[in-house]
Amino acid sequence: MNFRPKDIVPQLITVIAVVLIFGFFTYNAQINMENRGIDFGYGFLSQESSFDVQFSLIEYDGSHSYFRAYLVGLLNTILVSVIGIIIATILGVIVGVARLSPNYLINKFAAFYVEFFRNIPLLLQIFFWYFAALRALPLPQDAEAIFGIFFLTIKGLYVPAFIWQNFNVFFYSIVAAVIAIIVIRIHAKKVQESQGKQIPVFFISIGLIFILPLLSFLLGGVSLSFEVPVLKQLATTSFIYEGGVSLPPELIALTLSLSLYTATFIAECVRAGIQGVGKGQKEAAASIGLTPNQVLKLVIMPQALRIIIPPTTNQYLNLTKNSSLAAAIAYPDLVLVFAGTALMQTGKAIEIVSITMFTYLTLSISISILMNWYNKKIAIQEK
């Protein structure tokens, strides 16, 4: 092995430059922190946080630690992302398919939706929903019930709470149903590959997912009742709903705008994916006698999914990152709770911003590693 200076010098210069820049920053940071009497360290995480968060999935109040506050923020971020991803996917797939519809009106309607929501900044949309649209909702005492159980008011959406008895049994029955479906699917695929027989997997799966939980109700002693929110008067003009689950308007505005915005991008991914499957594939599949349903299921979708999934995952990542805009409307997500309130209180700028960034970085890198693995798995295996 012979080293040529030509190979070494550029790398050396780059590395030295990077080290110098980082060194410069660390040096300054040390001096600055010394001057201001701040010490570096993550010990504050176990201290008492002494601030409150309006909306939290886990038990939390001011007496808990900063780490607990971090968890609250993280869970709220994840909650908004998961709801957003589900709605955006459903909407995006519908709109994407609608854009390929032969029906002129549907096609244009979908195109209008995509062009409209894609070209307006997300932050503006969030503000619009939160400050303009949701503020036009009625006060709690004037709200009319939707289907008799939901109440959409200026203070948020009130939905009935589920009250379970023996929830474990119900949960296990669902897990059992999912496992059974997976086993049947694998078996069906084997049968199809070896004998060419089709097993109606879809109907069996639907049956299983309904029947097993139903059995748990009949035999396992599971019962479910609803607690409908009830209007309660606090003072002459102040009303709230009691009971049930209340979703704060921040959460509604955020999920609404995130999913409407991201759905436009997902719709474009879906459209590109379906269009990306060659016409010949469809015709070939039809010519060997597959029914339209089979063509879609066995030929088009597997190929289209291969094109659709990578960019769609990217959009999921974008949605998760965009959920940080929650800070603008005071939804207590990771950025607001941790990089906002906690930072103000402790003044530990470097530690807190780095933890926040590291969290997002971990989220996105782990998802992209997962996706790379999945891509490799479904890629066409060329011989």
Partner: protein
């Protein structure tokens, strides 16, 4: 006339079905139309539920009757093909038509009919419609932020001149075409910077940085007359020499006062805002993120492992974090990293943060273009004896960049849409100004108008950009 089977429209009884179907279809639309525009319910005598669904049922039957294949009537066939292919599509088409008819009157009345345009106080806004007076009164703030009213001609003049200077490319004759790249990549951004720094902000003309700019411009102009053989060494040495000469021998301290453009007040960047700030930030980030992104794209494909790892680390880091945390970092964390007496303006900090952030995305887009080029291009260039830089500048990058124009345009579009986030560092562009105006006690309750106004502006900008990028894509597609 043979027996008419109403369950099966056919060509034999074309006219019967056509008249009946058209009649039913128009009745249904007429009903909805009357209902939504004049608030008259034709079918009010029916039970509630039926009255609500009747237009849909009538329209559906009407569309069913006129669904006759190969009728021979051109318009009918067209209609059937486009909105009436089967029952399901017919219902969807009807629903969409109804939704449009239903939603038109409220939208129209809010936007135009019940809206108030005149006057300049809140009192004129008594109608149920929009209060465009609010937008009218606050227009200057939405456009220019806190920039003093008397000085706003400076922004206008700068933007108009910059647009005119930017349009030079369209009028350039073939003789000057070859200089266009140089013009747009080096000279135009410099002119823009000079305009914004000296004219909009009214800063002192001669400070350290401006010596550098003058030196660069002078050396580039002289550079054209230097034989190409020596040009490399010329650019290596002369700009620095010029800088030193300018700084220490020609200009002296007393010129600094002289250099201030007469009558221009200093307007600090905190007062900048509104839509003009959106433009300024997008413009500078666009200029900065492109070369940085290109460098990291090349770095990621470099043969040197250390350079590659550093580039990958940079790109993945910025792509993995949300912009808002980056801006947080630039606001609260970055000052800690600088020497104590060293202060960077918050606008500059925001521009640096957004540029680095977008640069990572640009890098990935350009990398896509580099990867899409066939390897033959690299090999051909190498076999001609070109070195790394020559190969990339003359062979690889021109082709790769052409390939990634749509991707780059999308990134820039995202950049423009991300500019409202600068509220994090305390700069108020148009959305930020809206939030400020909304809380003004004299003008409470007009959030909707403001957001709709900003949405329209952003929509026009972004839609125009996306259409333009689409056109560019089509244009370059034919080239290859």
């Amino acid at each position: 006339m043979s027996k008419v089977n109403f369950l099966k429209p056919d060509k034999a009884n074309l006219n019967t079905f056509l008249y009946l179907g058209t009649f039913l279809f128009f009745i249904s639309i007429f009903d909805v139309f009357l209902n939504s525009f004049f608030n008259v319910n034709l079918t009010g005598f029916l039970p509630n539920f039926l009255s609500f669904l009747l237009p849909l049922i009538l329209g559906f039957i009407g569309l069913y009757f006129i669904r006759i294949e190969y009728s021979g009537i051109k318009n009918l066939d067209l209609l059937n093909k486009h909105i009436n292919t089967n029952n399901f599509n017919a219902i969807l088409s009807l629903l969409i038509i109804f939704v449009i008819i239903k939603s038109l009157p409220p939208i129209l009345s809010w936007f135009v009919i019940d809206a108030s345009f005149a006057g300049d106080t809140k009192d004129v806004c008594t109608g149920s419609g929009a209060c465009w007076t609010y937008i009218k009164v606050w227009m200057r703030r939405f456009m220019y932020g806190m920039y003093p009213n008397a000085e706003q001609w400076r922004i206008n003049l700068s933007f108009i001149s910059l647009v005119l200077l930017g349009a030079v490319g369209y009028f350039a004759t073939d003789r000057f075409k070859k200089y266009l790249t140089l013009y747009y990549v080096v000279i135009y951004p410099l002119i823009a910077f000079l305009f914004i720094f000296f004219f909009i902000s009214g800063g002192p003309v001669f400070f350290d940085f401006s010596y550098g700019i003058i030196a660069a411009i002078l050396s580039i102009i002289i550079g054209f007359f230097i034989p190409s053989k020596f040009r490399f060494y010329y650019f290596l040495i002369v700009p620095i020499l010029l800088y030193i000469v300018l700084k220490y021998f020609i200009f002296f301290e007393e010129y600094i006062e002289l250099g201030k453009l007469d009558g221009l007040n200093w307007v600090e960047t905190g007062a900048w805002g509104g839509l003009s700030l959106t433009f300024i930030i997008s413009f500078f980030c666009l200029i900065f993120c492109f070369p940085i992104g290109m460098a990291f794209a090349l770095g990621r494909r470099s043969g040197f492992p250390l350079i590659r790892y550093i580039s990958v680390g940079f790109i993945e880091f910025w792509r993995g974090v949300p912009l808002i945390t980056v801006l947080f970092m630039s606001a609260v964390m970055f000052p800690m990293f600088l020497p104590e007496d060293f202060f960077i303006d918050k606008l500059v900090r925001a521009i640096i943060a957004i540029s680095l952030f977008e640069a990572a995305y640009v890098a990935e887009v350009i990398r896509g273009g580099l990867q899409a080029l066939p390897r033959g291009q690299y090999e051909a260039a190498k076999s001609l004896g070109m070195g790394y830089w020559k190969m990339h500048i003359f062979v690889i990058l021109p082709q790769a960049l052409k390939l990634v124009i749509p991707g780059i345009a999308n990134t820039f579009l995202a950049l423009v849409k991300d500019t409202p986030l600068i509220f994090v560092v305390g700069l108020l562009e148009i959305v930020g100004m809206l939030n400020l105006a909304k809380t003004n006690p004299k003008w409470l309750g007009f959030a909707m108008e403001g957001y709709v106004f900003a949405a329209i502006i952003f929509w026009i900008i972004c839609y125009a950009m996306s259409k333009y990028s689409y056109n560019l894509e089509q244009k370059y597609k034919t080239d290859r």
